[in-house]
Symmetry: C2
Subunit: 321 residues, 2 copies
């Protein structure tokens, strides 16, 4: 691309968002800003763990583990010993991974903002792109199941996403403020990309931060394209429980169901060839559509999807300026 | 021994105290209570590290490293990654060792007393003996060198004990209280043993906790023997900078110099055969003496020294009741 979109902001959850971010970083370098969900952050063993931030961090640094999270080849000596001391070990944390949680927690306790603590980790790993916490204020996703309200990681990791989700809430969201960095990134963005992350519990909390959705609406109103990518392909989530969660919460578990959640926000939508038939219904929501393979299993696929999204935005004259 | 001394309390610093404690635990099992110095505790990477407690902990659990501290065969993946994040790495902490600091810090932050947080670690490792922090209140040793006052671990680890120590102070000591557990252990002890640890910065802070020295004096007045073991042999410290520290602070760097620091407190003193000539001068301080090899390099040597100390106390009718 000769005329790039300038700053691109991606709203991202964990693995899917991280893979797209990796592709976008290849194309954009420091022009990429990823705004990550913090509502699945969790305190474990007195340390603040930020699963979505760290998944994006490690993926952008090229050191992510084989399943998309953690660090490739990491060991688990600390965790084994924590178990000896009677600590719960169902939330596995590798040794090198733990260093991030130790440093972040120490810097937060010393008075740093979450945004700055995380930026420090990014600088140390030499990232080209920037990852911003959606808010420095604590927000925690809870899900209601037949056995009551659960903390998100209790549901997600300990119970392996098995219980049906009857309701979702974001504790602390009313008091959460978007950071100046996030608002500035959205305001100056040439393109905003909504990752193929879980629309309910990954993108949902980001859009629920008071003022954040309005900021995107304002950017859109002044010509910034907002491209969402479906994380549901052929009715199934690429990863995680998004499909069952959409269904149990009364949404359609399909690319169309996802598009409906972004209606009025996204100006364009990317769907997989298997969902081609849903294109007209999605366009009827007021979005342009791009049909392309959205599976991002390897680096070339990530780069291709990212390039196609950027090219789509450029070709469609979605980008102004 | 058929008639044991009942509860034995050892006042201990790090490696030397840990090795004697190991020998005493072989003989006494749960009748041993070790009161450890906490004045060289230090916060690293937001985690509370208790070097003396943990050295005794690992030694009593039979898992100490080859130099007496840390855990044998421990790895350092976390530390390496902490270095990547720009953290200072001169205070090396192994992966399995870090688990103790993580758990302790989490439990302290959740409201636990230091004593209880440490007792939890001991229970998890199946210790027969009990290790008690000298105080739950923070006390921190600082040493004055030609370049001013330094935190103890700055002097001890980062500067490898190279600077001459011109003065020593224990920050927080005036406000520190001995715990109920420590006072109870001293009150009910049949024998109190002062380990061959550094008399200035290991045993010194314990005896400086307001009320603690008086409690030992009270026990002594009611017939409890107090046996001190010299950590200076032939004028040299068995380990660490005690010899140079004694000299630079105006004391004699010898078993006699150590004995003088415990005059009026110890009822008996154990010295090495090379220091036999100092025996009469030490006895003139009002202590009985035992001359025996005090090097505790291996398990049998630790058990032998411990047994000799216990036998000496029994033979000398030092133990009442």
């Amino acid at each position: 691309m000769t005329a790039g979109p300038g700053r691109v902001v991606e709203l991202a959850g964990g693995v899917g968002g991280a893979r797209l971010a990796h592709g976008l970083q290849v194309a954009l370098g420091s022009d990429l800003t990823v705004v990550v969900n913090t509502a699945d952050d969790v305190e474990r063993h007195g340390l603040l763990v930020c699963p979505d931030h760290d998944t994006v961090l490690y993926t952008l640094a090229g050191m992510e583990g084989p399943f998309g999270w953690g660090i490739a080849g990491d060991t688990s000596a600390v965790m084994a010993q924590l178990g000896v001391y009677g600590e719960e070990t169902w939330f596995g944390l590798g040794d090198r991974d733990l260093a991030a949680h130790i440093v972040r927690t120490a810097r937060l306790r010393a008075g740093a903002r979450l945004t700055d603590a995380n930026l420090g980790l990014q600088r140390s790993l030499g990232l080209a792109a920037t990852i911003l916490a959606m808010s420095d204020d604590p927000v925690r996703t809870q899900v209601r199941t037949s056995s009551g309200w659960l903390e998100f990681q209790d549901y997600f990791v300990r119970l392996r996403q098995e219980p049906e989700v009857l309701d979702v809430r974001f504790e602390g969201i009313a008091a959460a403020r978007p950071t100046a960095e996030v608002l500035d990134a959205i305001e100056t963005a040439g393109l905003i990309v909504i990752a193929p992350s879980n629309p309910i519990v990954s993108v949902g909390p980001i859009l629920a931060v008071p003022g954040l959705r309005a900021a995107i609406g304002q950017a859109r109103a002044t010509g910034t394209a907002v491209v969402a990518i479906s994380g549901i392909v052929g009715g199934r989530a690429l990863k995680g429980p998004a499909d069952r969660m959409l269904a149990s919460l009364g949404h359609e578990s399909s690319a169309l169901g996802v598009a409906r959640l972004y209606a009025g926000l996204a100006t364009a939508f990317v769907l997989d060839p298997v969902d081609r038939a849903l294109g007209p219904a999605i366009e009827a929501l007021g979005m342009r559509t791009l049909v392309t393979d959205t599976i991002m299993d390897d680096d070339p696929a990530r780069a291709r999807v990212a390039a196609e999204v950027l090219d789509f935005a450029a070709r469609s004259a979605l980008i102004v300026g």
